[in-house]
Symmetry: C2
Subunit: 350 residues, 2 copies
DNA sequence: AAGTTATCTGCAATCGTTTTTAGCAATTTG
DNA sequence: CAAATTGCTAAAAACGATTGCAGATAACTT
């Protein structure tokens, strides 16, 4: 039952192990036919571990995400998987945004993978130091660790996207605009808050610190943040929510508080979803191509694995688009386009 | 730069490699202090591949799912990951429901993993034959391959869940009840259709073949199936949709056709979602704990890896629950319960 | 046919561990 | 005090592949 080894094949054919090995590597070999047959007869499969030990390669790439059940990260992973094709297999790790888990995971990864696609929790994560030790290339996706500039990254254009969202609310006549932000220690949390503030400034709307609440990218966090905003003496009339999960939480809070969207509170989210269209009211969001982000990250990583760091690190960005539906009070224009929604492109990748 | 080996450590301390190895395995050793120091100084990390080659174990478990971007499968994976803890790492493979890809993946997995958690596309998949060759335990989740009874499985109670859904519609006065089913070649597609038919039979409602349409578990498939139902001379007044994605598609079709839910068409889905509550109207669904399913699968698998097949294969089932919201015309009772929704338990796991 | 070159082959070393074996010293036992 | 037991240790043999080297065929030259 236990698998045959290369030596079994060699013995059966009457050649040396090296000849079989060379046959397997595609070299021209005299008894290729009988080797082929013996391999089939013995159901021989090369032992990957032995091969890896010799070659020093593993044929594996790790992907560290906060939580695979977040559809956004699932899309990234899927994109990465597709881009990896048959060359590399994926190892998946969810960290729950816990830097300690990230550190432990990276430590365990040593010797198991040839590269890492990494969505870190915090820009100043302690795991930084660990990276010095480990000898595989890393590509950051969606978030970066600021001190690790030597690695590549594939981000969304958070600033532009957030400005676009805020501007959209302003154009609908809102001035009391809140922002439920992600952790300021995270790249998108920080970037989107910056974009929000920049848009306010540009329209000469004074910043109200009560309206900028920092949360944690979770449903519950979004719910609580929204409840907080509703409890304010001077309620905002519109809110830009910093990610998909917090948007769900915010909407739950609004529904529970019987606050009408968009009349009493306009809402715009970050990151689209298959169901955004069917929510009541259909949700206007900033969207970007997570699948593409994952695919870009993987191809960048594979390049590094192949060619090393002879070229300077890349900083890729994918577009953020505004998908107008009805949660900001926009009329139902989107029916007129063939894609069932109106998309305004914002920025180009670079 | 390249990692130090156990021999470097041994040399530095002045002992043999085996002594260092024994120290690492927790045996009592005379120079343990200096070995500890040398390991730290040299930043020695054991080479996993060498270790795996020697032990024949990989410390890895593969998870094969149709598509990780389907939140349901993402939950399964997450549950499996949590249950694996620090003992095993996960290798992820999406197959797009393509049996050929499944087969190729399983073939590649040989020697890379100690076990497999597997959501196959079809019950009669050709990949069956492959399994004979490979020497790791397998646990099926959500779907099985019928000829492989020797492996464990963790399924949902599809029949009961589907009956519950259908009965719910019947109790709301519907008799013209359609079912958009998944592929009949798949376990849940078949099981849920059976449950649907059983419930009709029990209520002495005649089966209408136009009302049982087989689709493919995708958004587009659900959309097209619903469009087909709407085009019928005698439209059904209610529909039970066989999975989450097809439900989204069906709702899109209804929205696009301006058919009111639940007045003109009652809808009940299979599998809950964080957003189901916020959809218009809030979606009544059959729900089961996907996270638990994944966790059970993993713990079953780890048991097999540890103890082998001395015990007969297990067939676990998780409960299906009815979550009543408003898409079937139920009044808004759910507010009265503390969990924000009314849950009727259906069956117990066995 | 003999010399030269091009192909292919087996041997042995190597990758970095773990584990078995046997040996040595120190300690306990009769 | 000799004998038996204990507690570590080093040396060597795996684990299953790949690869440099040198020798053996085979295939061309002239």
């Amino acid at each position: 039952m236990s698998n045959a080894t290369i030596s079994d094949v060699a013995k059966k054919v009457g050649v040396s192990e090296s000849t079989v090995s060379r046959y397997l590597s595609g070299f021209k070999v005299r008894n290729s036919e009988s080797i082929k047959k013996a391999i089939k007869d013995l159901n021989y499969r090369p032992n990957i571990m032995a091969r890896n030990l010799k070659s020093g390669k593993t044929g594996m790439v790790a992907v560290i995400v906060p939580d695979i059940s977040n559809p956004f990260f699932a899309s990234i992973v899927r994109g990465a998987e597709v881009a990896a094709g048959d060359d590399y297999m994926l190892q998946l790790i969810s960290t729950n945004d816990d830097p300690d888990k990230e550190e432990a995971a990276i430590r365990r990864l040593n010797g198991r993978v040839d590269g890492l696609i990494y969505v870190p929790a915090k820009e100043d994560s302690q795991a930084i130091t660990e990276f010095e030790d480990y000898a595989f290339p890393v590509v950051f996706v969606d978030r970066v660790i600021s001190n690790l500039r030597r690695f590549d990254s594939v981000l969304a254009d958070n600033q532009t996207g957030a400005s676009l969202a805020t501007k959209h609310l302003i154009e609908h006549g809102h001035a009391a605009i809140a922002h439920i932000a992600g952790p300021s220690a995270s790249t998108p949390g920080k970037g989107r808050a910056e974009g929000y503030l920049a848009a306010l400034k540009k329209s000469k709307i004074e910043r109200n610190n009560d309206y900028l609440v920092e949360s944690d990218f979770t449903v519950l966090g979004g719910y609580q943040a929204m409840m907080g905003l509703l409890a304010l003496k001077k309620r905002p009339s519109a809110v830009f929510v910093g990610n998909n999960l917090m948007t769900i939480g915010a909407l739950k809070a609004l529904k529970e508080s019987k606050v009408n969207v968009p009349d009493e509170m306009a809402v715009i989210g970050f990151d689209d979803h298959e169901l955004s269209d069917l929510v009541n009211p259909p949700l206007t969001v900033i969207s970007r191509d997570a699948h593409l982000q994952g695919a870009l990250a993987m191809s960048t990583l594979l390049e590094r694995i192949r060619d090393g760091y002879q070229f300077p690190p890349k900083q890729l960005k994918v577009d953020s688009n505004l998908v107008i539906r009805q949660s900001c009070g926009s009329t139902c224009l989107y029916r007129k386009t063939d894609s069932d929604k109106k998309i305004l492109s914002s920025s180009t990748s670079s």
